[in-house]
Symmetry: none
Subunit: 72 residues, 4 copies
DNA sequence: GTGGTCTAGACCACT
DNA sequence: GTGGTCTAGACCACT
């Protein structure tokens, strides 16, 4: 997914700080001009890679960069 | 709802006496670490099942256990 | 609730046809200048009165006018 | 009321800007160590004097200083 | 000081 | 792109 790769790159380059909130689903779907489901799939991809964590009612947050959490 | 089921179980097992007051919405939201509106949804569920009754300005009270109200 | 009463009136006067879709929650919240949760409370009222039915992912539809459903 | 007079003084001296939000009822009751009802009566006093406007779910806002709005 | 209503806005589940 | 749930926190009404 292009969107997931783009955001992953931002996180890995440190352009999105650990702990910071991603734009909301609605904002991302407007920014990329895609449907909500497409945004959600991208975020799910990032979640599975351990880069972000979605918190119901609050937002989606950067958890780390370059998979620091697992196996270290 | 997990919270509603938990409290319903306490009432049905007699751990919460008929006529006793539940913790306030604020206390429950702190105990369960959820927003107050989520607590209110759980209490609404219990109210509809006839287990508790909320009284404005006073609190929420256990009305019965195991559906004693109807047909007695 | 004023909003619920207003929409109920439209349905009862036949201004909203049976089977037609209500404006979405987002549209209604813009139209009435209230939060979406307030719109949802109004729709919940209408649902309990049997006037509309909300279908997840599709919309909220007028089911009848003047309580035609029961006793027919 | 001492609290109302204190806040009115702040507004009239410009220490609370027009459009700014007052501390919430809970914050004010903690600050002054009084019950919520006492705070509400003070705010009601300020509302009747036209200094603030309470907006449900949002907060209480300074509308003006020295009664500029009416009859000017 | 409790329950009741509302705001603004997030993610979730579904079609 | 809709309805469903949740967060955080405000004022309102009541006892």
């Amino acid at each position: 997914m292009i969107i997931a790769g783009h955001i992953a790159g931002q996180i890995e380059r440190g352009e999105r700080a650990v702990g910071s909130r991603l734009p909301s689903e609605l904002e991302l779907s407007n920014m990329w001009q895609v449907a909500r489901m497409t945004v959600r799939r991208a975020i799910r991809e990032l979640t599975e890679r351990g880069l972000v964590r979605a918190v119901h009612g609050k937002g989606t947050f950067v958890t780390e960069s370059r998979g620091e959490a697992s196996g270290r």
